[in-house]
Amino acid sequence: MTRFFAIWSDERVETIIARLLQTGVLASAAVVTLGGILFLVRHGLSVPHYSVFTGEPSGLRSVSGIFTGVLTLQGRYVIQLGLFILLATPVARVAFAVVAFAFERDRLYVGVSLIVLAVLVYSLAWGA
């Protein structure tokens, strides 16, 4: 049992975290690229309107809206899904730290990580 806990050294945890982040970024970049191609094929010849701020439609603003929109294979929604994966990677990183500190039996830092996780979840779910 002690040997099992011993593998959770700080360096080991950081290596796993770094790999987690890298995987998240690569997955996100792949989905964003796919969505970008779908979007450009359909809308590439239209005129852009980024100089006027209108705000995104509600479907692109919420997690549930993004998942519903992805099913229609619209490029914009697929890109937004990729961006959501990117947003989720740091959250997963903090969640992983909670578990890792728990294995290290570091109660203080389980608490610290939980506070950070709570702020992140709040901003993604309710922040406006």
Binding site: A18, L45, V47, L87, A128
Partner: protein, 278 residues
């Protein structure tokens, strides 16, 4: 100009921004926003949303390279993230109520400061000073590898560092930047961390901080997928290339040249902001 042409140009510009950002240590994000607003006429709110995304991407993408070196301090990072994430949520909430012209002026000022701070030499660390009570309580003291074996360091001024991190988080949330320069002030100047430890730990923190405000930007409709796509993919490619060049050549002259370019961009942001055109 149609969307396809604009996407390609924004992608190219973002590659350059990521490249310069990695080379100067300013981070790609801080150059993308002026580029989008000044050169492409993009509304500053969309520009900030797209930039936040690129900040998360570069921070997470660079983490693997940093961890290998063994400098980052996960406890200091996590503890200070309480301050940066709460700051980021505050800043992002403020962004909806602050006029965009003010945001542009503030952005310019922070940009000038970052260019200046990145050109200053790091302070010597606290070395073998006596222990600090709060840092000991939070188990922050640690060591990092050197060719001559592990070297230990002590952390000090935790409350000052924590407060400065709140400000760095708020700037990140309000302006969509990584706030690398402000984070370095908190960790180098206040907490007296060794330079290598503060830069790598700061990189770790930037992604989490940006994610806290990006959630709010997403929910408020500031994240335009069509614009964020070329920005994110471009900055990723650019910063990857920049990091490779950086390890091969110590380009002091190049960094100075870029600092001037960044300062000019900053002045232009301030000018356009004051003129009410952004």
């Amino acid at each position: 100009m149609n969307i396809l042409e604009m996407t390609l140009l924004v992608w190219l510009g973002s590659v350059m921004a990521g490249f310069v950002g990695a080379l100067t240590g300013l981070g790609g994000g801080i150059i993308v926003t002026p580029l989008l607003t000044l050169a492409f006429g993009v509304d500053i709110r969309y520009a900030i949303g797209a930039t936040l995304i690129s900040v998360i991407a570069t921070s997470s993408g660079a983490a693997a390279a940093y961890v290998k070196e063994g400098f980052s301090n996960i406890r200091i990072g996590m503890f200070l993230e309480i301050a940066t994430t709460i700051g980021a949520v505050t800043g992002a909430s403020l962004a909806a109520h602050v006029p965009t012209s003010w945001i542009a002026v503030l952005f310019g000022l922070v940009l000038i400061h970052s260019a200046y701070a990145s050109s200053r030499p790091p302070l010597p660390d606290s070395g073998e000073d006596g222990p600090d009570r709060m840092a000991t309580l939070l188990r922050m003291d640690s060591s990092f590898p050197t060719p001559a074996g592990p070297r230990s360091y002590r952390v000090r001024a935790v409350p000052a560092g924590f407060s400065l991190m709140f400000v760095a988080g708020a700037a990140s949330g309000l302006l969509g930047i990584g706030s690398g320069a402000l984070k370095v002030i908190a960790m180098d100047r206040a907490m007296r961390l060794p330079f290598k430890v503060s830069t790598t730990t700061s990189n770790f923190m930037i992604g989490v901080t940006a994610a806290a405000s990006a959630g709010i930007y997403l929910r408020r409709g500031y994240l335009d997928p069509a614009l964020a796509m070329p920005v994110m993919l471009g900055v990723l490619v650019g910063s990857f290339l920049g990091a490779r060049v950086l390890t091969e050549a110590k380009s002091q002259k190049l960094r100075f040249l870029f600092a001037i370019v960044v300062a000019v961009m900053a002045l232009e942001m301030i000018y356009h902001g004051l003129a009410g055109r952004l």
